[in-house]
Amino acid sequence: MTRAHRAPRRRIQLSLALLLALVAGCAPASPPAARTAASEARYFGDVTPPADDVLRFNLGAEPEIYDPSFAAGQPDGRVCRILFEGLTREDPQTLAPRPGQAYRWEVSPDGLTYTFHLRPGIRWSDGTPVTADDFRWSWLRVLKPENAARYSGLLAPIRNAVAYNQREIPDSNAVGIVARDDSTLIVTLGEPTAYFLYLTQFYTYLPVPRQAIARHGDRWTRPGNIVSNGAFTLRQWRQNNRFEFAKNPRYWDAAHVRLAGMVAYPIDDLNTSTNLYKAGVIDWNPSGYVPSQFIPYMRDYRDFRHGSYQGVYYYSINVTRPPLDNVWVRRALNLAVDRDAIANDLLKGSREPWGNMTPTGYPGYEHPPGYRYDPAKARECLAKAGYPDGRGFRKISILFNTSEDHRRIAEAIQAMWKNTLHIQVELTNQEWGSFMGAVTGLQYDVARRSWIGDYLDPNTFLSCWITGDGNNRSGWSSRRYDGLIRAAAREVDPARRFGILREAEALLLEDGPTLPVYHYSTNELVKPYVRGIYQTALDIHPLTYVWIDRDWRSREAAHGPAAAAGPERERVAGGPAGEAGAADRSR
């Protein structure tokens, strides 16, 4: 399991194929191997399945911490989801909540009380039973003020959770989490939360082993100490080098887990990751790790997948600084941006132009009209603001953190504003720490930002614009908007709730401090012999039931690649692929 290259046999075969390709004078974008006469299937690199039932993949950056209660970044979450299982767990394709450690649950008619029934006989990897009190203890651990868990806010819907977390209530028994008996957990919410079952599968809600934490303290997550309840256990970890997971025989559904183990490499460089995929060292190069300039050339490969990703790249406008405090100025700036040109020309169609603040992918949610490029109307708005033809408009600055893509987009928008509105715009780039300091301290005019959803609901994009929210970072405040967001939180009827959120988004776009630019997409490479990894809107990939298909060629010959690879949604028709900048998501 430790060899980097699996089989020398394959290397020879591959080098022959590649030498032929080189002799034929093929460019780098040419299919390197596996072009068989029988099928015209093209794959990026080596497609020989490994001899063992082990999935090897790029984890992304090195996780900061993989203790579920404190995990923050995407790589952290990936490790947590492999090792632990929550009350509910994501459907591998739709991410809808499915029974996990809880095999059934009831919700009271007012939407405030959730009663979870744990599966009989579930155990930690050390043999100790998993109890309802383990969940209660783990969630209180997240909320405990001294623990300073970064994502404790995700538990906010639970009654008194925020008050306890902020020391307003000292007694943890007042928090709405009760273990009625070993197998029944009763959770009381402060307000009906339509997406609560999505939250219970988020990694902050995962149970942690009390017994191991008592014994090993801060070092309980180390191999040898760690105890988990998911489909896999941690066998080895070397920092910046590798995670090795082994199948957990005590997992309740171990009979259906087909992988013997997994090896995850923390590789933060996009080119390195793609090289390793091409060489067949890793079987899955997840989204965010295909260099964006390769994406236009990758589309013809069958193992390349793209689809929508729940994230929006936008500019935030500091409304505390004149002339940006004028709503007509903000509308003018929005209308003067040609999003199609940025997405299709500048970024070669690798992203989707987007004029809304919430992304696609919420069944039943209808977007309010978003911004479209309209130079005439933009000039009109600027005149209404008192700056006809840009006269008297002070020079404004676009702030972005150092990155080639951010710079190119900022340059394009600078030119669009200059040409359409005749205003002066300068560019300021700062390294990450200074940039974050400036944005948080409102020391900017217009700043590049992005937002990635935590759960499948428009609320995750809209609630951060309420007055005083730590993620608002624009100085914008609207009493009507705050009221709408609060009303939506109290609304039990899903259709009415979406209606309220739609109104809020319309208000945000019309008056607000935001200038959406593009919609994120997922772009990933998955070897054809890997089954069970699907493209999902949150780029979350439950790996429990993944398997290595050594007969993939015959299966594909019989049914065609689409049938063998799984449902059609793996390839979203016509959806331009984009790249969630690794920088955005590893932070």
Binding site: T2, A4, H5, R11, I12, L14, S15, L18, L19, L22, P32, E62, E64, I65, D67, F70, A72, E146, N147, A148, A149, R150, S152, G153, N165, Q166, R167, R219, T221, R238, Q239, N240, N241, R242, Y265, I267, D268, D269, N271, T272, N275, L276, K278, A279, V281, W432, G433, S434, F435, M436, G437, T440, R449, C464, D469, G470, N471, R473, D584, R587
Partner: protein
Amino acid sequence: MVTFLVRRLLLMVPTLWAIATLAFFLVRGAPGGPFQSEKEIPASVKAQLMHKYGLDQPLHVQYLRFLSSAARLDFGPSYKFPSRQVREIIAEALPVSLELGGWALLLSIVVGVPIGIFAAVRQNTAGDFAAMGIALAGVSIPNFVLGPVLVLGFSLSLFLFPPALWEGPQSRVLPVVTLATAYVAYIARLTRAGMLEVLRQDFTRTARAKGLSENVVVFKHALKLGILPVVSYIGPAAARVMMGSIVVETIFSVPGMGRYLVNAAFNRDYTLVLGEVLFYAALLMALNLLVDVAYTWLDPRVELA
């Protein structure tokens, strides 16, 4: 000799103190802080984090606390990787950088010194020009170009070595060559210059006049002095190489020191930055001391007092 060593070791203490002080205030003076993220951390949580790490104390208190813990070589946990101690991070990354850097340094001496000698004894011949031309190219090609080119050639086309990852002896080859190339070239140039100077000196002429063979003149008499510039270069070069190279580590996904050193600064990971800076400073001073000791052995005119 002993007095010299003791004095130099004692002198390291104030130097390290000065570096620690400068680094402490520089990293604190940088805008931003360690607990920033694209997703805002709630104010109460942030306050709790600041409290947990003592960042809510007045700066001078933090400074004194930092000095006393640094004296005990305990820098506390990293802010970015809160479950790991700075000591642990260095202890795990250092052997990797030592291995990568050690091989690279060895390779650059073994290849660079003979090239330099060859060029010096054949000064202004075609061989000299060829050797120095190659050396110039080696110095000029940045490793972020050389690394990917080597990967393309040797991994993705010839399948001789894995394209990245630090697993197994084969994985060492490309990163070592990438890292060593610039050093090979530089050492070759230093050797040539040093040898040329020595070969012109009177004692070399005397040696030749005695009728010694050219080999004995070059390798026994001239080399010991001609290599002095290389020796003084190797001290800091070794320290640099052991602290890792962010470029080579990133291209080949090597779990060494370099990425931590650079990224810790970007992340405002105060404890990790200070731990790494002080470690680097101590390493650099120790190796320079070794170089000075080596001088006495190579050049009888040098006396340490």
